[in-house]
């Protein structure tokens, strides 16, 4: 077949790559193939909450319930299990979020921040 190539990256050097803090090391020139199992950057909980959760769960949106209120320490594990289950499986109107969208380390840090009330003041509009 004409106009085909098995080395797609060779056309890319002319592309102008701009820095992107959010992606960090992922923004490599595409000529560099990622090694198997290359780990994506881990976003901090506030960033995951802002990018994904707050659009529905922030108090001024009210599409989903508020989720940032602190829980008593004795209930952290149970609440964490519930949040993990809902995030991974979805529930009614709530979509499921897979590992490719919120990684396991990100989810664990997010749960910790949620149950301890660290994200109570965040909304979708805050940068």
């Amino acid at each position: 077949m004409h106009n085909t190539t098995t080395v797609p990256s060779r056309h890319l050097p002319s592309l102008r790559l701009k820095p992107l803090a959010l992606l960090g090391a992922l923004l490599l020139p595409s000529a560099v193939a990622a090694a198997p199992d290359s780990e994506p950057d881990v976003r901090d909980p506030a960033e995951v909450y802002r990018q994904v959760c707050a659009h529905c769960h922030a108090p001024d949106k009210a599409v989903g319930p508020e989720i940032t209120m602190a829980f008593p320490e004795a209930a952290h594990e149970a609440r964490g299990d519930y949040v993990r289950m809902v995030v991974r499986n979805g529930r009614a109107a709530m979509p499921s979020f897979r590992e490719a969208k919120i990684s396991d380390p990100e989810l664990e840090a997010l749960i910790e921040a949620l149950v301890s009330g660290d994200l109570a003041d965040h909304s979708a509009d805050k940068e």
Binding site: M1, N3, T4, T5, T6, V7, P8, S9, R10, H11, L12, P13, S14, L15, R16, L17, K18, L20, A21, L22, L23, L26, L27, L28, S30, A33, A34, A35, P36, D37, S38, E39, P40, Q51, V52, H55, C56, K61, A62, V63, R88, N89, G90, R91, A92, A93, M94, P95, S96, F97, R98, E99, A100, K101, A124, E127
Partner: protein
Amino acid sequence: MSTTQRILPKGVSETDFDAALSRFREIIGAGSVLTESDQLAPYTKIMMAGDQSDYIPSAALLPTTTEQVQEIVRACNEYKVPIWTISTGKNLGYGSAAPGATGQVMLDLHRMNRILNVDPEVCTALLEPGVTYQQLYDYIKENDLKLWLDPPAPSAIAGPVGNTLDRGVGYTPYGEHFMFQCGMEVVLANGEVIRTGMGGIENSSSWQVFKWGYGPYIDGLFTQSNYGIVTKMGLWLMPEPPAYRPFLIQYQDPEDIEEIVDVLRPLRIAQIIPNAVVIVHTLWDAGTHVMRRDYYDGTDSIPREAIERIKADEGIGEWNVYAALYGTPEQIEVNWKIVEQAFGASGKAKIMYGEEAEKRGGGFEYRSALMKGDMNLQEFGLYNWRGGGGSMWFAPVSQAKGSETRDQTELAQQILGKYGFDYVAEYIVGWRDMHHVIDLLYNRQDPEETQRAHDCFAELIDEFAKRGYGLYRTNTEFMEQVAGTFGDPLREVHRTLKNALDPNGILSPGKSGIRS
């Protein structure tokens, strides 16, 4: 997953599947090949009225490069393993992140999430499939670029590549997404890579600015299809205008839809109003933030009396037109006078913008955000209207003619009413066409209601087709039925292309009803 419950791709032996998984692990690493049930659970959540057991993947693969995708499809050909491709997987109500059929392996491209280029001079972008609208929005803000996006309602959590490839729409002047796509990189089923448009020319600077390239234009073949895996896509971005005026026009009678469309059509075709205008019915406008049970707790279709109470209490019209003007302040003033004259002629319309519109009870705030490309998911409040997590978008196309719109509205209301569902709908106005988008909301926790929703959707497809109305897009449960409404000769062409490009049928079998 335990051996006794193991799910395999259709027609693939356990031995071959294990061999394929080993090969996948060599290509992308063991941590990027998901086979455990808790890892696969997020891929099984569906909102359409299908049987959960029909949509369970056997594995999920998370590549990060085009080269890895090439190697994966070569392995799939060797072992005849079918893969179902998703990007951000937020095509909610159309199939979400679930496979097309149980046993298919998910090819999850969300980790291919590089913004490869944004050019603020020619206003273009080149993206990988996993890039979300939020990610691109943040990039534009952080770099202080004067560019706007055009997100669909799931905005932040969805992405431009997947939405465009499914021929989704947004609400700015760039609302018809495929019209603003320019250039693709595609991995074919044989593992080769092509670049469409000008991309075949080495070091071309015009891949993202000239759509047609040379010879047959083939980008459309890779939308709503299973002929290749798009690993990069170019799109055009809208330059931020100097001024922006979102506005709201409300009409109070059901039959007013005819006047609205006939007044709107010439303004839209002439680009006086340049954006993808929406004409929103009461129940959609209320449903994003009002609870159904506050007005009616019956399980049948909500009665007219309750709709009238919602209109009165919430300040919502029977039909609510959300549109916007863009340009210099002077241009906006000129066009605003034209809009006021056109819609003011009959005396039926209430025309508002600014504070007056904000005080109305509908969705002016979130519509204003979407019409300027901001991230906003308020529309998902619709999923709370009836509750229970069931949603299917029934979306026939109509001409932008009032008589046709009225016919479609009445037909939809009659069929939905027969099955006890509500008419939660809007029209999204293209240049000459409209997408009549109806959210068939139902309680997925109730098996009887789920079956009823399934039967209702099937009847909607058939009855609309009998009157010459076809769907622009549908969910995986109904792709076969909808493909049938477009006739056998077209399906035969689709099948011929599939056999030529993917003879083993490994790429998303059943997408849009296409199989090898």
